[in-house]
Symmetry: C2
Subunit: 167 residues, 2 copies
């Protein structure tokens, strides 16, 4: 197995399953006459980020993870989405972007330095494998699972199998 196999399929699985969660959330809003903006703006606590931002961050961590690990130009995507359809488009574009990488680009990337911003003008440098394990994956899953939690907490009929993308 190559380092590509440790990175790309993991991102793709959640990007795709999150698309499925949003499809169910959209149908739930329609069936219950819930304004989609209400669910899209829902949070687990007032100082946490709303559903829309959680999805945008999942996309960012996947695309930037691939870019940083392969020392490609890091994409910057404006957060303009305000509907389920737009968020699903962003997920679809992120899937396309992640799929555009090749195993060759990840060759040896696990042992190469990655320097990345960690807020407040600071950067951190880790080996590729450590960047993936200690920063990218925990953040990526954090926002994906929190999105699932927001939907679940609001009564959308989904479960862990939807989160895993196996149902």
């Amino acid at each position: 197995m190559s380092f590509y196999d440790a990175v790309v399929p993991a991102y793709l699985q959640m990007l795709n399953s999150l698309t499925g969660l949003l499809t169910k959330a959209e149908a739930y809003c329609e069936a219950r006459k819930i304004e989609p903006a209400v669910l899209l703006g829902s949070r687990l606590y007032p100082d946490m980020l709303p559903l829309t931002k959680q999805v945008q961050l999942v996309c960012d961590h996947a695309s930037r993870g691939c870019a940083r690990l392969t020392h490609s130009e890091v994409p910057s995507t404006p957060d303009t989405e305000t509907t389920f359809a737009e968020l699903k488009q962003r997920l679809a574009k992120t899937v396309d972007y992640v799929k555009s990488f090749t195993p060759a680009q990840f060759e040896g990337a696990d042992a190469k330095d990655v320097t990345f911003p960690v807020g407040a003008g600071r950067t951190m440098t880790l080996k590729g494998q450590q960047f993936l394990s200690a920063f990218s994956f925990p953040n990526f899953y954090f926002h994906a699972v929190t999105a699932h939690g927001i939907l679940r907490h609001n009564g959308v009929e989904i479960g862990k199998r939807d989160f895993l993308g196996v149902s």
Copy 2:
């Protein structure tokens, strides 16, 4: 980097950060005169699992992940914990267990078959890397992030930095 580096540090980071989250949750209960059992039994939705079970499952996915990937005997731990102290003991024991593995045990494990139960008497067989990426990590992070979400939703003053274990 070896396959060990892709597995063990990721599990340890969250097991340790979850211990920190529980310490803050325990202090929060004391300060606010909240019965710990209330927080330990909290859920994000009635058909989701309570905090205690989320923590137990984080431990199980880490310990069983290591065991299955290295073709070691898979440990089975009874879910007997009813207090923050007991849950932190379980996390500490899981940390010790995960730390007991060596890089040599993971040598070549990414490309070896892993057969594991997926419920209802069925099993699935995947290569080690796929088992890690598609099953173990998504489940492990699912329960860790959901535990964080339950605490956050109940007002415990923690944030993503606590979840990442960097604060």
